[in-house]
């Protein structure tokens, strides 16, 4: 490793290589903290060309690597598993081109999500995908994970907004997939790379589609006695032909935590609260608000508040966006699960979550994207209580099994990573997984790009190393 580190320094500069044990600790996990592993060396290239040079060196030595952006991922996608080298794109921060007339922007992989919208706001444009971590997470990570966010119900997720990427293959070769032009004949390899969790190579640049900032927005908060009533309202809103920009649900435990943290006057005895945002042309919005309010009334809403101005709107969003932070008040540790059910099955999955909580003597809070059935149960625990950690893992698995049984998916936006690799056979047949394995080999024949992620075949040999990786437990 010392020899490798010095060769890496010659490629990216002395300040671009981390190999002191105490400095490496920062990189032992991402937002998924249940498993930890320290890389042997971290390299931080400053440009796509340096990524390419680093990968050529690793290719010549047949060394495996794991890509990382800001480390905000939630499924352990950046956990180094039999990959000694971590390649961080966080120093690649250039916004290379803004094309206002065509609504395109070209950014390097380390550009933070929020910076994209900041860079184009003056032109009345924005970048639509808005994961909760948007002040920190990078576009490279968003592309790898196909990130979503509250506002993707109407606008779609990352894959709907990426027109092209430059991909550094494990060989070090840089290849352009897609471009600023909307279509090009050929297989949609761009679609394959988005959401591939860094297993096909490292995205170094992305050409993103920008959307017009909406002319007007209406945000309302609806308070219900029960999650069933709130769920009925969700289905009713969709059935009324309204596609809100966002449609978020918070259950009682979350509402209590948020209220304790921010004191914005939420009723702490409510069963569930819906946050609904409508956007678009000003002229069409008020009729839509009326329809949403009518649906809520029909579903037995206790109270509806419509934000009267931007200040009130920001306050309503604050309670949603900071919900995860508020959870810190409830327990020393928490694990956010991510699953999907058809949106009509939200009441069923909430019941399954409650049952799992009872069975495993856990507290589970729920704050999630109800509009697209993307649940986020937050399992509270104390990592010093090893039995509780085991129960958290068991409950998480049961919740995901319930999602699949209800016709849903293992993950809506956090990815498979290491966390859910073993569950993939619940969703996909051996034939499906074989096709994915073959596709991976086209890009990465030696299996050096983020090994032991997504595809479960690899898990078998990984689990034997569990003691090292699960040190945190």
């Amino acid at each position: 490793v010392p020899a490798l580190a010095s060769r890496l320094r010659s490629l990216v500069g002395a300040d671009g290589v981390v190999d002191r044990p105490e400095s490496l600790l920062v990189y032992e996990c991402d937002g998924y903290t249940l498993e930890r592993a320290v890389p042997e060396v971290v390299v931080l290239p400053r440009s796509p060309a340096e990524v390419s040079a680093v990968l050529r060196l690793l290719a010549s030595e047949r060394i495996a690597f794991v890509p990382r952006g800001a480390g905000t991922g939630l499924s352990g996608g950046t956990l180094p598993v039999e990959a000694p080298v971590m390649i961080c794109t966080s120093r690649m921060q250039a916004i290379e081109a803004i094309d206002v007339a065509n609504r395109r922007i070209v950014v390097q992989a380390g550009v933070v999500n929020q910076w994209v919208t900041n860079a184009v706001r003056a032109h009345g444009l924005r970048y639509a995908p808005d994961p909760s971590s948007q002040p920190a997470c990078t576009i490279g990570g968003n592309v790898a994970e196909n990130s979503g966010g509250p506002h993707t119900l109407k606008e779609g997720v990352t894959t709907n907004h990426v027109l092209g990427v430059e991909l550094a293959l494990p060989s070090g070769e840089l290849v352009a997939l897609g471009s600023a032009v909307e279509e090009r004949p050929g297989y949609d390899l761009l679609g394959l790379v988005v959401g591939a969790e860094g297993t096909l190579g490292i995205v170094t640049r992305a050409t993103l589609r920008l959307v017009r900032a909406p002319e007007a927005q209406r945000t309302l908060l609806a308070v219900f006695e029960s999650v069933d009533a709130a769920s009925a309202a969700v289905s009713g809103i969709i059935a009324a032909g309204v596609i809100p920009a966002a449609l978020e649900m918070m259950d009682r435990l979350i509402v209590q935590a948020v209220e304790a943290a921010f004191r914005i006057g939420l009723p702490t005895d409510a069963g569930a609260v819906l946050l609904v945002e409508l956007d678009g042309r000003a002229v069409g919005l008020d009729p839509e608000v009326e329809r949403v309010v009518a649906v809520c009334r029909a579903s037995g809403v206790r109270e509806v508040r419509v934000a009267r101005d931007e200040l009130e709107r920001a306050a309503l969003w604050k309670c949603r966006k900071r919900a995860f932070g508020a959870v810190g008040r409830l327990a020393p540790n928490y694990c956010t699960q991510d699953g999907v059910v058809p949106r009509t099955r939200v009441p069923d999955i909430l019941r399954a979550i409650a049952a799992a909580a009872e069975r495993h003597r856990l507290r589970i809070a729920n704050v999630f994207h109800a509009g697209d059935g993307n649940i986020h149960p937050i399992l509270l625990y104390d990592e010093r209580d090893r039995d509780e950690v085991r129960r958290v893992l068991a409950a998480g698995r049961e919740i995901l099994e319930a999602c699949v049984a209800l016709g849903g998916s293992l993950t809506g936006e956090h990815g498979i990573g290491v966390e859910k690799m073993a569950l993939m056979p619940l969703l996909f047949s051996p034939d499906d997984l074989l096709v994915m394995t073959r596709l991976r080999a086209v890009f990465d024949p030696e299996g050096r790009a983020n090994p032991h992620k997504i595809l479960p075949d690899a898990r078998v040999c990984v689990e034997t190393r569990a003691p090292r990786r699960q040190a945190a437990m």
Partner: protein, 416 residues
């Protein structure tokens, strides 16, 4: 043949005739499997004999693509035509590949929903064809393309395995996005037997405004301004691009869809925009009918139809340059998507036009595809153009999923 007959029944295997030809190549047999399992068996039987096959829905869009290098068997999916599951409250639909789009639309309309993809000839276009040929129409500007709406897929692979990707939920990042890989792949990676889409509420109102412009360049400018209005669709017609007008000039057509208040407002804005630029504007009440006519442009009679892709800002100047090169052509563009179709009325100028227009487009990341042309013309043309820097990976994908070249050999980019 006896193998095939044993699989699907004797009445569902017929000898290929000229009506079954794909770009002039006549298959020996046409087989009509009745379900996905029979498709699997047919593929296994074909694979065992080393036959080359092309999957077919209604055959309406088979003109897209290069002529197959080999063709023994057409697998007709007309018997796989069920709407498997329309979950109206979830706004998703799972449908078999052979289902025609008009039949699907009828089912969805009962719940006030639609699959907002509007290719030409929806009555004669199947779901499988929609996916395999990546068909779209004017609505793509606001509603996206197949890749944006397809959330799950079932295909039969070269080894006869049933391979699924995606699922039935609208948000899903589990595993590689296999559905997208089959979109526009022209059936060269497998036979699509079932697809799941997310749906949208069908807007109750759809109207349009036609803005008359003096030239294609002026229309390009007007289209960029109109794009800021956030229309449902935005078409640009070059001189003579529409049969009944706009004559020597060009036109921009702004589509508005939604509730009555929104549509009236959008129409008024488009008219205001035109007047502010000193242009004439005509409000059209039946926006959906007008849009369907624009969608039909791609399959209207012509010696050849070319499809060019570029940045939206280049559309006006491109259309103008196509007309300046002379010859009897008509142009219609999905202006805000940067897609221009050129209907060439006579066969002679096609090769020259392709040779002249393609290189500058490809230099800027764009493309020029010969979307429709008779086999004789295709024989002397490069239908797809340069496959681009990602071609080695594409070839790798083809080899990984169809190593023996069972599926539509030679039909796709770079001879895949």
């Amino acid at each position: 043949v006896t193998d095939l007959a044993a699989i699907v029944g004797v009445s569902h295997v017929t000898p290929g005739g000229s009506a079954d030809a794909v770009d002039g190549r006549v298959p020996s047999w046409v087989v009509h499997p009745g379900n996905a399992a029979e498709v699997q068996s047919c593929v296994r039987a074909a694979g065992a004999e080393g036959l080359a096959l092309v999957a077919r829905g209604r055959g309406t869009h088979l003109a897209i693509g290069a002529p197959p290098t080999r063709l023994d068997l057409v697998v007709a999916l007309d018997r796989l035509s069920r709407v498997v599951c329309h979950e109206a409250a979830d706004m998703t639909v799972t449908v078999e590949a052979g289902c025609p789009l008009d039949a699907l639309a009828e089912v969805l309309a009962r719940a006030g929903q639609w699959l907002p993809l509007d290719p030409p000839r929806p009555h004669a276009t199947t779901v499988g064809g929609l996916v395999a040929a990546d068909l779209s129409g004017p609505l793509r500007f606001s509603q996206g393309r197949v890749r944006d709406l397809l959330i799950g897929i079932r295909t039969v692979g070269a080894d006869g395995a049933l391979v699924s990707g995606g699922g039935r939920v609208v948000k899903n990042v589990a595993g590689y996005d296999l559905p997208k890989l089959h979109v526009g792949a022209l059936g060269t990676l497998g036979i699509v037997v079932e697809a799941t889409f997310k749906l949208r509420p069908r807007p109750p109102w759809e109207r349009a405004v036609v803005i008359a412009c003096r030239s294609a360049e002026a229309a390009g400018e007007a289209a960029l301004l109109a794009g800021d209005l956030g229309p449902a669709w935005l078409e640009l017609a070059g001189p003579g691009g529409l049969p009944e007008g706009p004559g020597e000039g060009a036109a921009v057509v702004v589509g508005a869809a939604g509730i009555a208040e929104e549509v009236a407002d959008a129409q008024a804005r488009a008219v205001d925009l035109a007047r502010a630029s000193g242009l004439g504007a005509l409000a059209v009440d039946d926006g959906a009918a007008l849009r369907a006519r624009f969608a039909a442009f791609a399959t209207e009679p012509a010696a050849a139809v070319l499809r060019a892709a570029m940045l939206p800002t280049e559309v006006g100047a491109f259309v103008a340059s196509v007309h300046r090169t002379g010859g009897p052509v008509r142009c219609l563009a999905h202006a805000a998507s940067g897609v221009v179709r050129i209907a060439v009325q006579a066969a002679e100028p096609v090769a020259g036009l392709v040779a002249r227009l393609r290189p500058p487009l490809e230099e800027c990341g764009g493309s020029l595809v010969v979307e429709r042309a008779p086999p004789a013309l295709k024989a002397v043309l490069d239908v797809w153009g340069g496959p681009g820097p990602a071609f080695p990976l594409m070839r790798g994908v083809k080899q990984a999923l169809d190593p023996a070249g069972l599926f539509a050999p030679g039909r796709f980019v770079g001879g895949l």
